[in-house]
Amino acid sequence: MAFPRLNMLSYWSFFLGGVTMLVSFFVPGGSAQSGWTSYAPLAVIASTGQTVWLFGMVFLITSSLLGAINFIATTIQLRAKGLTFMRFPFFVWAQFVTAFLLLLAFPPLEAAAFMQLMDRLAGTSFFLPSGLVVSGQVLTNAGGGNPLLWQHLFWFLAHPEVYVLILPAMGIVAEIIANNTRKPLWGYRSMVYSLIFLGFMSFIVWAHHMFMTGMGTAMAAFFQTTTMIISIPSVVILTALIISLWGGSIRFNTPMLFACGFLPMFGIGGLTGLPLGLNVTDIPLHDTYYVIAHFHYVVAPGTIFALFAGIYYWYPKATGRKMSETLGKIHFAGSFVCMNVVFMPMFIMGLAGVSRRLYDGGAGYAFAQPVLHWNIVSSWGAWALGLFQLPFIFNFFWSIWKGEKAEDNAWQATTIEWAAAPSPPPHGNFHVAPEAYRGPYEYSVPGAARDFVPQCEA
């Protein structure tokens, strides 16, 4: 990395943030209870745990900011000789754009967290409106604050944040698909331009999380429009990944199973986001189970599947051994089915109007009665999903000692980390500094000796 000490600072800041968050469970009043969105005024009047949460966020945001600076500087300045931007593996592009999202979107939340701390600790009223009644008493704060200010500052980060969650995942899936189809990615250039466009647009869509706050039709139309536009690059990337499968010599190993599983799941997640991004259809769907289903589809069988894929894929690089294929396939099959059992019914519940964040899952509402049984289906699915993670956890640790030994380039991959670094890598990663001579996905090149030509092979 360009800044090794900054890297370390970033890690320890993250560690401190994590510890702080965990400590919050043990303070009087318990941990933060105002949702990940920490909306004012609830979060302002909540118990001590919320203050601890806010401090935790400051540490975590700082960690991300320092990391982002490091990733961007390193990618630009320290890439291997011959590694031009358009020769980057798609994963590198994904991380690069993600770093910019973190760099520019997180600070407003840091400012907002600071202001919420001021509200909680110094008695200010940044987010407290006048005349707020709490437990029958009118608050004596100065008032005049704006709860919507919190929402704007929060969502300014939180929307780019969801792209922070999905972009690296898309990067991982792209690498694994290219490797296991033994052919280059289809539409690499379009995918890269889409990434950049997506990153840019992600900064100007945030108020689609606030359609119900009375912003007026002009601004609602603005945010609806930018939201519809941002779906285009997403679709381009997903389509390119799917087309990349066509005509491939597909190897269905565990990483590839998860990578392929990602595709339809992210498709469902993305498509179900459309009625949420259109302000009229959002009216009946906002804050219902439909929203929960939508974002879980993109993050759970979406991002998390990509992360599983990445773990199975890069495990041999990090440890020199492969994880068990059998256990991996059980993990995949069980997880894929159960994810759908858990989250598909939530679309039905949401369309029926069941709100999210109800302590009784909707049991208190007459209109929810016909769909209540889906709660039970989801719950069974959740327990089963949990059980199917056990083979993965066992596999992860068991394989460290007993896994099948892997060669340095365990997957016969073209990218530099596979072709030039030992598995596991020594200090400094490479014995000799690698140089790039070609693109990242030279698979099945006619006339070549093997079905892949590494990027760094002279």
């Binding site: 360009a2 800044f3 090794p4 900054l6 900011l65 982002a68 600076i69 490091n70 961007i72 500087a73 630009i76 300045q77 320290l78 760099l103 520019l104 979107a105 997180f106 600070p107 407003p108 939340l109 840091e110 400012a111 907002a112 600071f114 202001m115 001021m118 110094a122 008695g123 200010t124 009223s125 940044f126 704060n141 100065a142 005049g144 604050g145 704006n146 919507l148 200010l149 704007h152 500052l153 300014f156 400094g428 500094a433």
Partner: protein, 196 residues
């Protein structure tokens, strides 16, 4: 393995790692203070009445502070220029002046704040004061941070001049960029809070 482009520039970007690093950091700081200014706009436009800055705050004192901070920006860039001219002694003098001017800024702020507290004016008193204390408070934290880094380069960090003067000069330049940014924020904060 030495990390390349720490001192010499990479030809295609024309930059050192540190130069990119500090500008990326400053970009994030622009967004941080941007959020605070956005908050100011939203809260002020949403308020039925809003006091004019000079009815509550001490404009002459803040004007003095503005001059102090701008002067410290000049001494900072002169400190770097002295290193480029190979005059370490002069660098020491200008950097020392920068730190002293920063300290002056802080002392004035101390008097400003304590006077407010004496009058019973706290962040919780009104949104005007909440914004005033929060914005100048966060700015002040940045002044302190900048001063700490400058003090390091004036003191223990100056050892680097003997072994790698180019790297030292670059690091002073980067530290200067942060300091100028702190000055730049004040250039906008001062009229916003005190004059409008």
């Amino acid at each position: 393995m030495e990390i390349p482009y720490t001192v010499e520039i990479r030809r295609d970007t024309g930059l050192t790692n540190g130069k990119i690093g500090i500008w990326l950091f400053l970009a994030s700081e622009v967004m941080l203070f941007g959020a605070l200014f956005a908050s100011y706009i939203l809260i002020r436009t949403g308020a039925p009445v809003w006091p004019r800055g000079d009815t509550i705050l001490n404009v002459p004192l803040a004007t003095f502070n503005t001059i102090v901070l701008i002067s410290s920006s000049v001494t900072m860039v002169m400190a770097w220029a002295s290193l480029k001219r190979n005059r370490f002694g002069t660098f020491r003098m200008y950097m020392g002046a920068t730190i002293l001017l920063g300290a002056t800024f802080l002392v004035v702020k101390y008097f400003e704040y304590s006077h407010k507290f004496e009058l019973g004016l706290f962040p919780s008193t009104s949104n005007f004061l909440a914004l005033y204390f929060t914005l100048t408070g966060l700015h002040m934290l940045h002044v302190i941070g900048g001063m700490a880094v400058n003090a390091y380069f004036w003191g223990p960090g100056a050892k680097l001049w003997k072994t790698n003067p180019e790297w030292f000069t670059n690091r002073v330049e980067h530290s200067g960029l942060f300091w100028h940014f702190v000055d730049l924020v004040w250039i906008f904060l001062f009229p916003t809070l005190y004059l409008l």
